[in-house]
């Protein structure tokens, strides 16, 4: 076998050429999204005037939504935006380029200086903002056509603020509520109208007890399990006259007497109705309003969830096999009124983008005028106060009928008026983990409410102060 000699020069030439091609490929691919769904560059709408290259501005937008339906919905909003602003071209990437953890991707892109111009967030902007990674938009909001500071629900806009400055816009602010099985209530001879739903913790606990049925060691049907969805805990805390975090004073209030009393009450509930066995109750499956949850599977007639749950296709009366309704959270012994919380989605502009004005226009459109397009299909309670009154989520109408849909729409929007402060801590995730860990320990009876919440308070407040000092 003869071996063809490769001259050193030829080899080095080849290597050099290869490296150059690789480098060019790398440069070309930098910042380009992997093909997630159809994240092709937006083209000007049909009939729009052609744009001279000099006038054209190219923006990159990421959305945390990665599902095809969600990306398609955003695509439609972008097309509308494109018609209004033919000079702004938007390249959309759903779920972040190449998949993976969205926050991780965004964080590293911001750190590397090649972040998108606009990004949606599933976690509050304050955490990113406090660390100086998002653009301050107050002066842009002051002259904005739609996104003026007074045009948003203040508690929701507060989730975008840190020390008086605004770092993003809320896209939605879906509030939470109690869900109940109307048919089951009827069978049990209970009133099914919303006004008759339990108004206090004690009333709800008594109602829950009616549905708890044990057969030997086995729970056949359950009542309400208040600790099952810890993301709703700010609402429960508010209903008992407390809160977890006070942004005005930059202070955690985890061991507030109202919170201690709340957990004490839950432990009593666990003992009274569920034999004190939190793990057995957890092993019976999820107690939320999801399709795989015990409420939907008719193990319990009582649950809690977000407004968005109402517009899922499985919630259609016919599909579910029962009629259902929503009500407010009950008021605790230390509380004064029913409070809800909310889970927004946000948009923000990573710092250092070259097209601030255009990026803001896009973000503003997404969170205001463009929002109804999203809302038409997903019941994500809007955060924008000028949201048109006549837009009702079609999926909700399909699920429960036009009259009931309007009623629910108003219920969740009005309930936002009574929302507690939430999502405002610069160490939101850390604080939430401490709170949830404390609740977990209390429900497992590893610690008393006082001990667990004192410890969580000390840890969270220490970390908060450390973080604020380091900013």
């Amino acid at each position: 076998m003869t071996q063809e000699r490769l001259s050193r020069r030829a080899l080095l030439k080849g290597m050099g050429g290869g490296m150059a091609v690789l480098a060019l490929a790398a440069c070309a691919s930098a910042g380009q999204p992997a093909p997630v769904s159809e994240s092709a560059e937006a083209t000007p709408a049909e009939g729009a005037p052609p744009v001279a290259p000099a006038e054209r501005v190219d923006l990159v937008m990421w959305t945390a939504w990665g599902g095809q339906d969600d990306v398609d919905r955003v695509r439609i909003i972008l097309d509308e935006f494109q018609e209004l602003h033919p000079g702004i071209m938007v390249e959309l990437t759903g779920g972040g380029p190449g998949g993976g953890d969205y926050n991780e991707l965004l964080l590293t892109r911001i750190a590397a200086g090649n972040a998108p111009d606009v990004a949606s967030l599933f976690t509050p902007p304050v955490g990113f903002a406090a660390r100086g990674s998002l653009d301050v938009i107050d002066e842009l909001m002051a002259t904005a056509e739609y996104a003026r500071p007074d045009k948003f629900w203040q508690p929701v806009l507060d989730t975008c603020k840190f020390r008086g400055k605004t770092y993003g816009l809320p896209f939605s602010a879906a509030s939470y509520g109690m869900f109940y099985n109307v048919d089951w209530f009827e069978e049990a001879g209970l009133p099914t109208d919303r006004e008759s739903f339990p108004q206090t913790f004690d009333e709800l606990r008594a109602l829950s007890a009616q549905f708890v049925a044990w057969e030997g060691d086995e729970l056949k049907t359950g009542g309400f399990v208040p600790w099952s969805e810890l993301w709703t805990s700010p609402a429960w805390s508010g209903c008992n006259g407390a809160q977890w975090f006070d942004s005005r004073n930059e202070q955690y209030t985890i061991n507030d007497p109202g919170n201690i009393a709340l957990l004490q009450y839950w432990v009593g509930w666990l003992d009274e109705q569920y034999r004190g066995d939190v793990e057995y109750i957890a092993s019976l499956g999820a107690w939320h309003t999801g399709q795989d949850g015990n409420w939907f599977q008719k193990v319990t007639p009582l649950s809690q969830g977000g407004a968005w749950n109402t517009s899922y296709s499985y919630m259609k009366y016919e599909t579910a096999g029962f009629r259902w309704d929503v009500a407010k959270f009950p008021v605790g012994p230390d509380g004064e009124k029913s409070r809800t919380a909310f889970w927004p989605n946000w948009f923000a502009m990573p710092i250092g983008g070259p097209h601030r004005t255009e990026s803001f226009l896009l973000m503003e459109y997404m969170c205001t005028v463009g929002m109804p397009t999203w809302y038409a299909e997903v019941f994500d309670t809007p955060a924008w106060l000028d949201f048109p009154d006549d837009v009702i989520t079609q999926n909700l109408i399909d699920n429960v009928g036009a009259d009931k849909a309007l009623e629910m729409h108003n219920f969740f929007i009005d309930y936002l008026e009574d929302a507690v402060e939430v999502w405002t801590s610069p160490i939101e995730d850390f604080g939430t983990d401490q709170i949830n860990r404390a609740i977990d320990q209390v429900m497992h009876k590893v610690k008393t409410p006082q001990e667990a919440l004192d410890e969580a308070q000390q840890i969270a407040q220490t970390r908060l102060e450390e973080t604020l000092r380091s900013l």
Partner: protein
């Protein structure tokens, strides 16, 4: 010196010149080799060596990724061992997992290898079937096992109920059963280790077994006195790899811990399960890095883990002479 000058005048190359020529010749001979391995060398330096060194540096800083690192000395290490409420929990979880899953995994893999080392019809098919789970994506494997171990309707608990066990374990929803569930899951992916054992078994000369059989040694005796001693290098290798793997357990805990109801922390993915029973070291590291923006602290955790694994490996290497039998090393 004088001799060298004389040589130079005479046109005879000096020793130094000869050395230079030899080096140049060697370089000419090797340049292609270096050129061909350069992508790997560059990749190693840029994507492995630099990040390792950088994370060592970051471990002494307050670093949020979003702002330049600030030197804080050993504060991250001090906080880790004295302040962090869940650090030692994550260490104990990981040790528990490692101490049980590694020996159990080795025993299970060896058992499978012994079974699949038999000369029966269709053994290739069996080997393939047993190896397949090892190449299944960890996320998919975890989701599959979560279905199997579902406390209510899972296949495992249905089977246990049919055996008369009235209230089978809650698996991921029970603090006491969460880690055993992860360990059971890990056994399912023993195909890789099994394959290495199988290769080791194939390497043992048949003559030993024949001689032992002639001497009347039972199967059990042959296993203890021939198979296991001659497999010790393979056991040693798998032990080291198993320990490294057990320290790095992440995906299964991340998925199962994040979705466990009741004891979980709800949405967020890095919950750690009831009473932090599935809060593994890597999960806490990830949580600090990407959920709390504490990259400096996470780097300190990574460095600590590196030191722990390195120390453990060195101890094992040091003690391996007592129990690992290398045929070639035995003096005749």
């Amino acid at each position: 010196m004088i001799e060298a000058e004389a040589q130079a005048r005479a046109g005879v190359p000096t020793d130094r010149a000869r050395l230079g020529q030899r080096r140049a010749r060697l370089l000419r001979q090797n340049v292609k080799g270096y050129a061909f391995i350069s992508p790997w060398i560059i990749g190693l330096l840029v994507f492995s060596a630099y990040p390792v060194l950088a994370s060592f540096y970051f471990s002494f800083t307050k670093y949020t990724v979003l702002k330049p690192p600030v030197w804080i000395g050993v504060a991250n290490y001090a906080n880790m061992v004295t302040q962090d409420p869940v650090y030692w929990k994550s260490v104990s979880n990981t040790l528990y997992y490692g101490l049980i899953s590694v020996p159990l995994g080795l025993a299970f893999s060896l058992f499978l290898a012994l079974v699949l080392n038999q000369a029966v019809v269709g053994i290739g098919v069996y080997r393939t079937v047993y190896y397949l789970p090892a190449i299944m994506p960890p996320v998919a494997a975890t989701l599959l096992w979560m279905l199997l171990l579902d406390p209510g309707n899972g296949l495992v608990n249905s089977g246990l109920r049919s055996l008369g066990i009235g209230r089978p374990p809650g698996w991921f929803s029970e603090a006491a059963w969460a880690k055993p569930a992860l360990i059971i899951m890990s056994l399912w992916g023993s195909g890789g280790t099994m394959l290495i054992f199988l290769a080791g078994l194939k390497d043992i000369p048949k003559t030993y077994y024949e001689a032992a059989e002639i001497d009347g040694a039972s199967a059990w005796y042959r296993l203890l006195n021939i198979t296991l001693p001659l497999l010790t290098p393979v056991i040693f290798f798998n032990l080291i790899m198993g320990i490294i793997g057990s320290f790095g357990v992440f995906t299964s805990a991340y998925i199962a811990g994040g979705s466990s109801s009741g004891g979980g922390y709800g949405p967020g993915g890095t919950a750690g399960g009831p009473l932090d029973s599935m809060l593994m070291y890597m999960l806490l590291l990830y949580r600090n890095a990407f959920r709390y923006f504490e990259m400096g602290y996470a780097s300190a955790m990574a460095v600590t883990m590196f030191v722990a694994i390195l120390s453990l490996t060195l101890v094992l290497l040091k003690t391996s002479g007592r129990w690992v039998y290398y045929e070639a090393a035995v003096p005749s």
